[in-house]
Symmetry: C2
Subunit: 310 residues, 2 copies
């Protein structure tokens, strides 16, 4: 049985001992993992921590404002970095899922590395959890080693990594969040991937396509809030399909709705949500987003599918 | 109230009067519309009719054999034309839905025109029904005028068109089929589009992609036979998505399952079929077709979607 209080006490002590009087940086996306890691370090070292929210232009509606507001209300020193243009630049012409992930990661670490240097830090905190580690071993996802990817040789610069959650599974991270008294919007927050909406735009990622999937995401989240499912999302296809709008045949966009039940994201079940809700979402998406003519529902478990499409 | 017997009597008389001692050709796809039209003309003019099945390589599993067997068992003079290679040739490099439809149509009428000349015919029969005519008027589909598209000037060659079903909606065509004593596999046959599986392969149509969607189609049809729905189909996306097969992350194919309720195909409802059946289909498709990692279910009505994807 996992004891959140005991975990927190040990973690704080460990972080204090490790960090001492050094400076720490944390890239906080607003997800439960990175926010819990950030808050733990903040509790341990206070003003020695700087939290950074990198606005890559791929976040959900209202997300940058929400994260900055939350960090500030928790008393955490925080900085917003507007990097929208440089992220969209690296996606230009890239259509393969792996190429896009790599482009995102490279750009993320370049931006994060630049900010880390500006802030003259010695430690980097990240919200790595057990599932990330396991999936690396199994070859499902490529786990990032922060230092190497920032392009910093730890021998020379002495940067060190803090991963206070690497032994926890998601449900335990949520227990820690509750134990720490974090707001419910954080402790119960649905998982959201690092590369954000870039994974939910198939084919090339452009501001226009992100804007479509952002609207669809908002509708899916609004309509499924009460379901208690693990993750609820929308994906914009690169493929198009025929439809009829205002009595005319058009060639329009396709959006997939994905709702899964899971404990820890390692496996997942496609949720059997009532058709009434599903078709209500489809009606809103095709009604409120002019270019979308068709909504699909993903009925595949993980495995053989993954939760996200890329 | 539509009277099938009366309709048949009038139609036979009309066809006999019109055709006289001339020769007639009919392109029979095995669908209820073209088979009823073919059989009506056969009853009216017997050996003056030649039915042609064009094997374009885009048909469902076992379809060419089924159609030829059916025509022969009905006593209809029939000829199979193997045109698989020439159809795949015209799809090369074409990814736009309209371009693909046009390529199919051009190729179809070239092949059909060549056979018509060989057979020295004066009349062309087709199974045009009321919904086709209505949708042309509304601009949803482009209706084909056979003669122009064969590239034959009727003034010069004197070819004429027979469309015995153009005043009927689909349910009445089925009544006529029953009245004519056609086998149930024909009278209750699910609608299937002229351009066949080419509409169900998004992006470029290749033999490999058709082979995947053919397998998925067979599974969907087998698992939904008892539902009594109007049309049950599978679509292969051009987009790919991540999945996990044999414990490894792969980038695989996406198949959409589409099942609709409709009277006449002019409007349609996405069917609310039990999740158990839906997920059983998804398991079979991802299990039996190695490249497929993900199955989606189309939850959009017509309008705003169409029944087919292209």
């Amino acid at each position: 049985m996992f004891e959140a209080r005991e975990f927190v006490e040990n973690a704080l002590e460990e972080i204090m001992k490790t960090v001492g009087e050094s400076r720490v940086i944390s890239a906080c996306s607003g997800g439960v993992d990175s926010t819990v890691a950030t808050f733990l370090v903040h509790k341990a070292v206070g003003e020695h921590l700087i939290a950074v929210f990198i606005d890559d232009g791929l976040r959900r509606e209202g997300e940058p404002e929400f994260v900055m507001r939350t960090l500030k209300s928790l008393g955490i020193r925080a900085r917003l970095v507007d990097a929208k243009e440089e992220f969209f630049d690296v996606f230009r012409g890239k259509t393969d899922a792996e190429d896009k992930r790599k482009a995102f990661r490279d750009r993320f670490y370049k931006t994060f590395g630049k900010v880390s240097k500006e802030e003259k830090i010695e430690f980097v905190t990240q919200g790595t959890i057990k599932a990330d580690v396991l999936e690396t071993v199994q070859g499902i996802k490529s786990q990032h080693n922060v230092l190497e990817q920032i392009g910093i040789n730890p021998e020379v610069y002495g940067y060190k990594i803090l991963e206070p959650l690497r032994e926890l599974f998601k449900p335990d991270v949520r227990k820690v969040a509750r134990e720490l008294g974090l707001p419910k919007e954080i402790s119960e927050r649905m998982p959201f991937p690092g590369p954000a909406l870039s994974l939910r735009v198939l084919g090339e990622v452009t501001p226009e396509k992100v804007s479509i999937v952002r609207k669809a995401t908002k509708i899916v989240e609004e309509e499924t809030r009460e379901l208690g499912t693990f993750q609820n999302l929308a994906v914009l296809h690169n493929d198009k399909a025929t439809g009829i709008k205002n009595g005319k045949r058009v060639y329009g966009n396709i959006v997939t709705i994905r709702i899964v039940e899971s404990e820890d994201a390692v496996t997942a079940k496609a949720a059997q949500i009532p058709y009434e809700i599903l078709m209500g979402i489809a009606k809103r998406i095709t009604g409120e987003i002019p270019s979308v003519v068709r909504c699909l529902y993903d009925v595949t478990d993980k495995p053989p599918a993954t939760i996200e499409f890329e």
